[in-house]
Structure formats: structure tokens, C-alpha cells
């Protein structure tokens, strides 16, 4: 029996997918061929290792946190704060980074840090990663949305304000956005503490061919 010819069949043999005749033939070959036998043993080891690979438990309140994003603000005043994922999280979809080296005093006009393309009527999570050099307690965040763009769950709200504690390092602000028409204006996230503040501007456009700019 040709080793190369049975290479694919060894997977079927491992998975118990062969009929009795082929199973016996492969089994006999494995008795005689040290190379194929070694490969088969390695495959068994691999499966054993994969099946005992532990997975972490889901974060507590994962469902509740997701549902807080659906609920109208009037219905759940205690849950209006979008989730801040603390630590060095890896943004998965549309990640925009900004470093808050120090808060600037007073509002300063800054160009958008990025352009995000949304598909019409399709919710998309924009993640704004904010780095701070130290813990910043009770930071006020004011989000201003462009016309025709909505934060999912907050229909009709162009401006939202809430407070959050920022921790030293990376903080992730998730903004589930949906465009109901051509966006007009920019998304502005302003972070303030006392008299100091910093604004992050993101240009929102409609996706034309499925690409994300």
C-alpha cells in the first residue's frame, strides 16, 4: 500500500469513518509502516490534547451587559453606561485608538482620527480604544452623533452623557451604531474631568462597496 495514497484516509481512520474493509486494510498498513504509524499516533495525541484544552468561563453578566445595549434609556436608567472593557483588550471590528496623554484644557478643534463606513440599517460596533496614563475616576463622557446615525437602543438621541471610571492603560468604549441615512457631521466623544477635556472626532460615512475605510 502506498503511504501517499492513504494519507487522506488516515483522517477517516482516525475519525472512524471507514467501512470495515478499508479499516482493516489501513490497520494492516499501520502494523507494517513505522512512518504512518508514527503519524497516526501523533494525530491521536493531537486529538487528545485538543479535547482537553480548557476554555475559560464566560464573563459574568455577559448577557445582561449585551442586553443593556438594547434597552431604551427611559426603561433602564441604571444601565445607560456602555460597557468599558478594561485591560489590554484587542478591538475586533472597527477599532480606533487614541491616547489621552494628558487631558487638554479647554476644547480644541482636532481633525477626525479616522473614518468609519457603516452599512445602511446594519448595526456595527465601533470600538474606541482610549489609553490613559493613570486612573481617571468619574470621567464624564459626552457622545454626540452625526445626523442619521443612532446608538443602538437609544433611538432619537443625538447626545448622550454618562460617567465612567477609566483605568490606567487601555479602556475600550463600544459604540453599537446604525446608520438610517447618509450621516451628516461627525461622531464626537468628549471626555472631561473637572475643567479639563479632550474630544475625539470620527467621521462616519456610508459604506459603498462593502469596504471599511
Amino acid at each position: 500500500m502506498n503511504c501517499a495514497a492513504i494519507e487522506l484516509e488516515l483522517d477517516d481512520y482516525l475519525d472512524g469513518r471507514l467501512d470495515a474493509v478499508r479499516r482493516q486494510a489501513i490497520g494492516e498498513h499501520l502494523q507494517q509502516c513505522a512512518a504512518c504509524r508514527e503519524r497516526h499516533v501523533q494525530s491521536q495525541n493531537l486529538l487528545a490534547a485538543l479535547r482537553t484544552l480548557p476554555a475559560p468561563e464566560a464573563p459574568r453578566n455577559l448577557l445582561e451587559r449585551a442586553m443593556a445595549r438594547f434597552a431604551p434609556m427611559q426603561a433602564r436608567p441604571a444601565r445607560v453606561v456602555p460597557r468599558w472593557a478594561l485591560g489590554g483588550a484587542l478591538a475586533a471590528t472597527l477599532a480606533l485608538g487614541v491616547a489621552l496623554g494628558v487631558f487638554l484644557t479647554g476644547e480644541q478643534a482636532k481633525p477626525p482620527i479616522a473614518t468609519v463606513a457603516l452599512q445602511l440599517e446594519r448595526p456595527e460596533t465601533v470600538r474606541l480604544r482610549v489609553r490613559t496614563p493613570r486612573d481617571l475616576q468619574a470621567t464624564t463622557i459626552t457622545l454626540t452623533l452625526p445626523e442619521n446615525v443612532e446608538l443602538v437602543g437609544y433611538a432619537g438621541r443625538r447626545t448622550l452623557t454618562w460617567q465612567a471610571d477609566l483605568r490606567e492603560g487601555a479602556n475600550l468604549l463600544r459604540l453599537p451604531l446604525v446608520a438610517h441615512g447618509t450621516p451628516r457631521g461627525e461622531l464626537v466623544a468628549q471626555l472631561s474631568q473637572g475643567q479639563a477635556s479632550k474630544a475625539v472626532r470620527v467621521k462616519i460615512v456610508l459604506k459603498s462597496t462593502g469596504g471599511v475605510s
Binding site: S43, F70, A75
Partner: protein, 191 residues
Amino acid sequence: MSLVSLFRRSRGTAGRFEELLRPHVEYLYRLAWRFTASEADAEDLVQDLLLKLYPRTAELAAVELLRPWLARVLYRQYVDTVRQQGRRPPLEPVLGEDDPLEEIPSEAEEPDAHAERMALRARLLDALRRLNAEQRAVVALHDIEGYTLEELEKMLETPIGTLKSRLHRSRAALREALAMEPSAASQRVKE
């Protein structure tokens, strides 16, 4: 429609959604972690999925076997997310993220054996991260979660031949990673 009736309708949908999804959240997160090998990415993936499913609560209620249906939409969401990222390597080590593989050795286990097992798992996880999205998903669903190829053919809407090919390439890459220390690997399972 009054604000009160809107509120009631919203709570009703939310309650139904929660009732439908709660039994599956742990499973979805575990599967998402197996796809992404990152806790932060897994959480993002599940959050995004829930966000997209919420408007489809009535459709969810009509699904007979919800778990495999959810696994399929999670897979689609995962592949879409990877594609949106411009096919950059979808998984990168995330500094500061807890390593779910870290374990306290059991009293019955020798420290050397524990260290070797941890090293093996680290190599395996690293090798999984190097697979592409489709390969990692088929390994997660078939080799780890135990779905059959026939089930995956329907779930992923992918021919069995394609699935077998992905599995074959994935296993070859993973075997190679584990064989970095062949003396350890080859002794583990006896014929």
C-alpha cells in the same frame, strides 16, 4: 403608540430574548473562544452576535434546534469579522489578558509533568492561532466540540470534501507544532 406600550413591548422582547439565549451564552462564549483563542475577542464576538440577534427575537423563537443554529450564525459572524479586519492575522497575543490555560498543578501531578503539559498546551494554542479562520473553526467544531462532518456540512453550508481538506491541513499544521518535542508527544498515546 404610547411610550408606555412601547416600553411594555420592549420589555417583552427583552424578556423573551433573555429566556431564549441564556441557556446558550456559556456555550457561545466557549465556542467563540475556541474560534478566536482570545478572551477579549470572544467577548466581542458574542456581544456583536447578541446585538444582531436581538431584532430577530421572533425568528429565534421559531428555531427548533437553537444551539446548532446559533453556532452557525456565530461562525458567520466570526468569519465576517475576520474579513472586515482585512485578513490581518486574526489572533495576536493580547498583553495582560489572563491566560485561561494557567492552572494550579494538582497534588497528584509532578511539577515537571505539569510544566510539560502547560508547555504542550501553549504550543497547541499558538499553533491554533496560526490557522486561518475557516481551519480553526472546523477544528473547534469537529475535533473539540464533536460535531460530525455531516452536521457541519449543513451547519456551515460547506461540502464535506472541503471540510475534510481543511481538517487535514489543520491537523498537519497542529501535529507539526506538537512534534516540536517529539519525545514528549509520541509517548502520550499508546496504540
